[in-house]
């Protein structure tokens, strides 16, 4: 298929799906069928891009050029392909899960939930495929705005407050910091295209480049580098499928994806290596990793704990991208996938526990592993991936990041990774232990087993993906190696 057709098709499929879902609102079974068919066809379309990218064909299309030099254009490269594949695959799995969750919980306004979910996925696809910073920014904002109705879905005071923090931080950072950074880039380079090797080499002094990079790192609020992380715990008021797909995969990964793209295709690793102040941003990301883990340690709400864990894991990617070692860049790319599989499993489990038992706190989980064995086994796999233990996906990415840290002898990164591993173990393993080896203190109010089957099957699939990625990561690593190639 030609890119002129394929790229718009990928963007429009979820949008058309959204319209159809809205029209089918009165018939829930038809509506859910449309969601699943749309998600499946989107994944099918995205896989069509694998072949051309493997064959090193360019998949690019310019839609329109509103201002000279500023175009709405798309250009697929390995990193974006991986992100698009990831988000579309997990959208399908999450849709299955969401059907169980939304029905199991008797949520109101399910139609608008599925509609905005589809719109958000279209935004994520746009971010993944964008060919320049302006296009990326447009879809980045679309993702922010379309997820706001999902965060405020419950419409109570907590949802309103969470929604305000969510929009406040994300829009403040994107308009107040990211947009100026983009404008600055444009005024210096005269272009915003993602170009292998970067577009800023030789056009900026190292100190200006450090300031610009800071604007980017803090301005991409979706990457949740401290102190721009407050929106992520606030977003946990959303229904769990939203937290699972959007606030563990699509939205947050759009953030770290943007930072990785900016480091590789706007600045270029060689240029940033000449910017001495850049290492302070590595320290900031490392600080975020450790502090987020410490905060997670103190959380009692499962979802809040997972949110802080996400903040720490996102900064792994930021830190890996900023270490500027070839292996670490690959590690950053791989960690986007690895963390996505692990964290979505954990969120799925948290939601399943909530639906089956109405429990939301860590200290309520004694003995729950006996009632919900599949869920808790999946939880254990996800937790091991967070810690980075083989045979899980988290081990693969950590391996590359550590290798990268050795390449450039960044011992700071090594220490941070070790500390974080210990802290992750400290807050995940007690849950596993409590669930399987501690007896229930008092019998629960409802005698429950596993959650509805769509949820259980979804979380089993993602848990298997965590294990499978440990074994079959070769092709992904191979293709991501290409992000480091600079055009001759």
């Amino acid at each position: 298929m030609s890119p002129e057709f394929l790229i718009p098709a990928i963007l429009l499929t979820p949008l058309i799906g959204a319209v159809l879902i809205a029209l089918a609102g009165r018939w829930p079974n038809l509506r859910e069928t449309i969601t699943l068919v749309t998600a499946a066809s989107l994944f099918g379309l995205v896989t069509q891009m694998i072949g051309p990218i493997l064959d090193r064909e360019t998949l690019a299309v310019t839609i329109v050029e509103p201002l000279p030099g500023l175009a709405i254009a798309f250009d697929i490269e390995p990193l974006g392909l991986m992100f698009a594949l990831l988000a579309s695959l997990l959208w399908f799995v999450t849709s299955v899960y969401a059907i169980g969750y939304m029905r199991g919980n008797n949520e109101p306004r399910q139609t608008s939930f599925y509609v905005f979910f589809a719109v958000a996925i279209s935004g994520a696809m746009g971010v993944a495929m964008s060919g320049n910073l302006l296009t990326l920014f447009i879809f980045y904002e679309m993702l922010t705005i379309s997820t706001w109705p999902l965060v405020t879905h419950k419409r109570n005071d907590a949802a309103r407050a969470g929604g305000r923090t969510y929009m406040g931080v994300l829009l403040f950072t994107s308009i107040g910091l990211l947009l100026p950074a983009i404008i600055w880039t444009f005024s210096v380079a005269g272009t915003l295209d993602f170009t292998p090797g970067g577009i800023l080499y030789g056009l900026m002094s190292p100190s200006s480049a450090a300031l610009l990079l800071t604007l980017f790192v803090l301005g991409v609020g979706k990457a949740a580098v401290m102190p721009m992380h407050r929106w992520l715990p606030a977003a946990m008021v959303a229904p769990t499928p939203v937290s699972a797909l959007l606030h563990a995969v699509a939205v947050v990964k759009a953030g770290v994806f943007t930072i990785t793209k900016v480091v590789i295709y706007i600045f270029g690793i060689d240029f940033l290596a000449e910017v001495p102040l850049e290492r302070y941003l590595v320290y900031l990301a490392g600080f975020t990793v450790v502090v987020a883990s410490l905060v997670a340690l103190k959380q009692v709400e499962i979802k809040k704990m997972l949110a802080y864990s996400t903040i720490g894991q996102l900064s792994y990617v930021v830190m890996a991208a900023l270490v500027l070692a070839p292996f670490a860049e690959i590690g950053a790319a791989i960690h986007i996938v690895a963390h996505a599989f692990g964290k979505i499993t954990l969120f799925f489990c948290a939601g399943a526990i909530y639906i089956a038992s109405k429990k939301t706190r860590v200290d309520q989980l004694q003995g729950i592993g006996l009632r919900m064995p599949l869920t808790m086994i999946a939880f254990t796999i996800g937790a091991l991936s967070m810690i980075g233990v083989p045979p899980t996906a988290g081990f693969v990415s950590k391996w590359y990041i550590i290798a990268g840290a050795f390449q450039v002898e960044s011992y700071f990164t090594l220490v941070v990774l070790m500390l974080s591993t210990g802290l992750n173990a400290a807050y995940f393993l007690p849950i596993v232990f409590r669930a399987f080896f501690r007896p229930e203190e008092e019998p629960p109010s409802v005698d429950h087993g596993e959650a509805p089957w769509p949820m259980v099957s979804a979380l089993c699939v993602t848990a298997l993906l965590v294990l499978a990625f440990f074994v079959f990561n070769g092709p992904v690593v191979d293709i991501e190696t290409r992000i480091l190639e600079v055009a001759p």
């Binding site: 509103p66 201002l67 500023l70 447009i138 904002e141 705005i145 929604g163 947009l179 404008i183």
Partner: protein, 490 residues
């Protein structure tokens, strides 16, 4: 008839149609007359614009050659503004018919006659090439606007109209004094002629005072911060159709008059000799920040949008204070884009008023479910106000930021971005009310607006996005107009 002779009819047709309208009985006939008058103005202006971009079109009334007689002189700048005004009138009138039926059930002939007078006055200000004639048209449009504002249904409408009248008359008088001073010093009122003669007497106090009088006088009309006090009351209390029309045209035409007088008549070198750029820059910066802040505080939606209008005018003022082609072009393009966006927003709010009878933000609670199309249109147009990419608002803000960066004015860039963030807050406030809050207890269910109100609204929303993607019409003409104004040739 060639285009030169046809051009004055863009003003004359509505002017002549106005008294006819006043005499017509019933509802349909006056409206039809008004609509055809506006549409024929639009048709003429769309023929004039392409010609005027190449070379100015002139028409001398009664064959009295200027500078003795009065002439209409249309170049890229005023053809652009004239097209905007006639376009907005033509789009707003079908929408107005429904809301006017509700608000002014009787004697609609009079209403449409006043509307046409205001419209032809604005068109006249735009087209004329004579400084005194500009005053005449200014008064035609102002007097009819005062009467229109007073026709509002709320009890405070006459008071607002009176305040508007006091401020407006002050402004017009200031303008007249300024023109008088220029006439004493140069002996001419024709703008082109004035431009030739002013440099000889540029150093005199009288001309400098004239400049100050004119700038302050027009500053009142365009609601230049801090001379904006009349605007929120007038917008909030006028009949809905008039609010939409005023918000999208009146201040824009006043900005045009300022541009024409400062740049064409006095010239850039005169303006640089005066502390024009500095004063306007400061007023622009404060005018973005403070009214945006006030907008956030408002609980009446019409007032909220009115303060936002004051802030948006300040963006234009900031752009033209830069005295560069990019800055002027950003001002001109924002003139157009903001007119479209703000008309769409006011239409949404006034449509809610039409259905619920209230402009308070509490009336918007839970409307996202009950009037989804109207509220979605509001958010879509609100994104334009914020300046999100793909909307027309992004184009103007991007141009303005480029113009500021050209002169290394990073403070201005910061202020523009803070202004956008504040727009996020006041647009977000409405979105939150509509979707996250539940309707107040005991409210009767509200129905979605009739299609006749929705269609023009969505036309303008579509235009907001169209002009954010295809900028050939807006940006290219704005650039051409900016070059004309700055004196770099067409």
């Amino acid at each position: 008839m060639n285009i030169n002779e046809l051009m004055p009819f863009a003003v004359l047709v509505p002017l002549i149609a106005a008294p006819i309208c006043a005499l017509l009985p019933g509802r349909i006939l006056p409206w039809l007359t008004a609509f055809f008058a506006a549409a024929s103005s639009l048709a003429i202006m769309s023929g004039v614009l392409p010609e005027a971009v190449d070379a100015p079109i002139r028409y001398a009334f009664g064959n009295w050659m200027p500078p003795i007689g009065i002439e209409f002189r249309v170049d890229a700048v005023n053809a652009f503004i004239g097209l905007l005004v006639s376009l907005m009138a033509t789009v707003i009138l079908p929408w107005a018919r429904i809301s006017v039926n509700q608000e002014i059930p009787e004697r609609q002939g009079l209403f449409y006659a006043l509307f046409l007078l205001a419209f032809s006055g604005l068109m006249g200000i735009t087209m004329t090439g004579d400084a005194f004639n500009l005053f005449v048209f200014l008064e035609i449009s102002s007097l009819s606007t005062y009467a229109l504002v007073a026709m509002g249904r709320s009890k405070t409408a006459p008071l607002s109209a009176f305040r508007y009248l006091i401020m407006g008359t002050l402004g017009a008088t200031f303008y007249l004094i300024g023109v008088g001073l220029l006439y004493i010093m140069t002996g001419t009122l024709n703008m082109v002629d004035l431009a030739e003669r002013i440099p000889e007497v540029a150093d005199t106090r009288a001309v400098q005072a004239g400049f100050a009088f004119i700038v302050v006088g027009i500053g009142v009309k365009l609601a230049l911060f801090p001379l904006h006090r009349w605007l929120p009351g007038a917008y909030a209390n006028a009949p809905s159709a008039i609010t939409v029309f005023l918000a999208s045209t009146a201040t824009k035409v006043a900005v045009y008059a300022l541009l024409r007088l400062v740049f064409t008549v006095f010239g850039v070198s005169f303006a640089t000799a005066m502390p024009y750029a500095e004063v306007f820059m400061v007023l622009g910066l404060f005018g973005i920040l403070l009214p945006s802040l006030w907008a956030i505080e408002q609980t009446n939606m019409k007032r909220l949008l009115a303060y936002s209008s004051v802030a948006q005018v300040a963006y234009i003022i900031l752009g033209i204070s830069l005295l560069s082609v990019t800055g002027l072009a950003s001002g001109l393009v924002h003139l157009f884009n903001h007119a479209v966006i703000k008309a769409a927003l006011f239409m949404c709010v006034c449509t809610v008023i039409y259905q619920t009878g209230s402009a308070r933000i509490s009336a918007f609670h839970g409307l996202g479910r009950e009037m989804p199309l109207t509220m979605i249109a509001f958010v879509l147009a609100g994104l334009g106000l914020i300046g999100v990419p793909l909307t027309a608002g992004f184009i103007s803000k991007w141009m303005l930021i480029q113009a500021a960066i050209e002169q290394d004015l990073w403070l201005a860039v910061v202020v523009i971005l803070i202004g956008s963030l504040m727009a996020v807050i006041y647009v977000g406030k409405v979105a939150e009310a509509a979707w996250v809050r539940s309707p107040p207890e005991g409210r009767e269910p509200v129905k979605e607006a009739p299609i006749g109100l929705l269609l023009p609204m969505y036309l303008l929303v579509a235009a907001t996005y169209y002009f954010g993607i295809d900028t050939r019409l807006t940006l290219d003409i704005a650039m051409a107009g900016a070059r004309v104004l700055i004196g770099a040739g067409p």
